[in-house]
């Protein structure tokens, strides 16, 4: 990694941290569990690193098979994270989104 790339990466990191702080502090405590599982699913983005490891050619032939195997395990783990994480987050958020027009029968009766 050359210095220019490093500096750019540090900028990205700092700005993402700042933005993350701004965005996430607005999430109400009501949604903290879905938030945790959503950010967890999003960080399953390490899947893309795993895909490269599992499928790309490497310069040293000796390392090829170990790299593929490590990559395979990593792809599996990261996919569990992504699929499971998004799936469960959606299940939770579906429950929160549910509208209940009949929520207050007393009020209905009064009409």
């Amino acid at each position: 990694m050359n210095p220019a790339v490093l500096i750019a990466s540090v900028y990205v990191f700092a700005l993402a941290a700042f933005l993350g702080y701004q965005v996430i502090s607005r999430v109400p405590p009501l949604l903290h569990t879905p938030l945790m599982s959503a950010t967890n699913a999003i960080s399953g983005i390490s899947l893309i690193g795993s895909l490269v490891l599992a499928g790309a050619a490497v310069a040293t032939p000796k390392a090829q098979l170990p790299a593929h195997i490590l990559g395979f395990v990593a792809v599996t783990a990261a996919t569990i994270n992504v699929v499971g994480g998004f799936g469960i987050t959606d299940r939770m958020l579906k429950m929160f989104g549910k509208r209940k027009p009949e929520a207050n029968p007393a009020k209905e009766a009064a009409k």
């Binding site: 502090s25 405590p29 945790m36 967890n40 960080s43 893309i48």
Partner: protein, 459 residues
């Protein structure tokens, strides 16, 4: 740069933007679900982009991994009950961190010789954070599931041993950093990180799990961000940082809600010193019969339910909602008071009650509901203990002194649903139970609540 590489980078940029938009939409329950569709789209785009642009030569491992992971992931997403959400999330942290750690090891295998100093540094952080989060999360999941005893595991010299492990790990990292050809030190660092993750979590009691969950969330994210530095990949840095900071913010909130510092949670070993520190509150606990409790509830104007971890263990959320609806049908105002650290992870109670169809407009945060307790006729405490312990407010010598609580003792009357007369997981005496306004209803929360509902119907 070839065309496919540009395409790949474009999908990464799109994914980054979609992730941020998704988290922004998390600020409201009405928009949150649509937000997650954006994030899913972003993830899909990034995967397609990688497969197109990354010069893949062998597909079999990729397809096998994607298929196996999808099956297990989908099974977990569909089959896990809401009460088991904390352990599922902990497991998920373990998988994410494992992936980051393995990518780090793979990167070391493939590129060990041409790594620059910066890459080696980032690689060290990636592998250490990834490995310790993997085992730490597994232990946390085991404790939450009850496979491993939830009680803090402590022994003499524990902190000294942990420090020794940490220093050896750090020393291995430094040696590898300076001498990249020292392969053994890289693997020593990896192994020590796995051990350190175990040591970090075993001394922590179940009651502190909300903090630990948030911290592990943060570490898993930072491991992914470090992966981004190793691979010079911005979408990894952005997504990992978002996750890392979300975990960090949650840890701080959880610590605040317990009035403790992160170091105290990690190294304090709550629950060990308690036996001697409890003051004997004295007095007697008054038991109430089901019918009397039902009578009180049915003729109240305002009722507040205060759920705790006991609600989750008893799976009583549906019974709770049924009772609440019956009361609302009689014109009683019913609210639910949620303490930030009630349960085993941030927001645990909200999810359970949402599952039981309680509308989120009936769920109140601590600051909102506390001023309303003096005008509340009956506060029903369901399997909660420390979060309603008035000692935290009144007794500066108490172990939980200064922890903000739900002030149910200010309500006109309190009914406490509890399994038995014991002191609960923290072992602290709770003076609330001895107050003249408090009555106790013993038994399993689920059956107590459904019996209460039947009794209310017959009032």
């Amino acid at each position: 740069m070839s065309l496919t590489s540009y395409f790949m980078e474009a999908t990464y940029l799109i994914a980054s933007i979609l992730f941020i938009l998704a988290l922004k939409k998390m600020s409201h329950p009405e928009t949150a679900r649509r937000g997650m569709f954006l994030a899913e789209g972003g993830m899909f785009a990034a995967i397609v982009g990688t497969l197109v642009g990354a010069h893949i030569v062998t597909w079999v491992w990729i397809i096998a991994g994607l298929a196996l992971g999808s099956i297990i992931g989908a099974w977990m997403a569909i089959s896990v009950p809401m009460t088991a959400m904390p352990q599922r999330t902990a497991l998920s942290h373990a998988f994410g961190a494992l992936a980051a750690a393995l990518v780090g090891v793979g990167e070391f295998l493939v590129h060990a010789n041409q790594m620059t100093v910066v890459t080696r540094g980032a690689l060290g952080f990636e592998v250490m954070l990834g490995a310790l989060t993997t085992t730490g999360s597994l232990i946390a999941a085991g404790k939450l599931q009850g496979v491993i005893a939830g009680k803090p595991v402590q022994f003499r010299g524990q902190n000294a041993l942990n420090l020794l492990i940490f220093l050896s790990m750090a020393a291995s990292f430094v040696y590898f950093f300076v001498h990249p050809e020292a392969v053994a030190f890289f693997y020593a660092m990896l192994g020590l990180a796995f051990v350190f993750g175990v040591m970090l979590v075993i001394p922590i009691g179940s009651a502190d799990m909300p903090v630990v969950m948030s911290l592990l969330n943060s570490y898993a994210g930072l491991a992914a961000a470090a992966t981004g530095f190793v691979l010079s990949n911005n979408v990894l840095i952005i997504a990992g940082t978002l996750d890392g900071f979300s975990g960090f913010i949650l840890s701080v909130l959880m610590c605040k809600a317990m009035n403790r510092s992160i170091t105290n949670v990690l190294f304090g070993g709550f629950g060990a010193v308690i036996a001697e520190a409890t003051s004997d509150a004295g007095g007697v606990m008054r038991e109430i019969s089901l019918d009397d409790a039902a009578m009180q509830l049915a003729f109240a104007n305002r009722v507040v339910f205060v759920p705790g971890y006991g609600l989750a263990t008893a799976q009583a959320q549906h019974a709770c909602r049924e009772l609440g609806e019956l009361l609302e049908g009689r014109g009683v105002s019913v609210k639910y008071a949620i303490h930030p650290v009630a349960g085993r992870m941030p927001g645990h109670m909200n999810v359970l009650l949402a599952e039981a169809n309680v509308p989120y407009s009936s769920l109140y945060e601590m600051e909102q509901i506390n001023p309303e307790f003096p005008s509340t006729d009956v506060a029903v405490v369901i399997g909660a203990n420390d979060v309603v312990n008035p000692d935290a407010r009144d007794n500066p010598k108490s172990l939980i002194a200064g922890m903000p609580i739900l002030e149910v003792d200010r309500a006109k009357s309190v009914i406490v649903l509890k399994r038995g007369q014991g002191r609960g997981f923290s072992g602290l005496e709770n003076p609330l139970f001895f107050k003249p306004c408090t009555t106790m209803l013993y038994g399993d929360a689920k059956s107590s609540l459904s019996h209460l509902a039947q009794a209310v119907q017959h009032v």
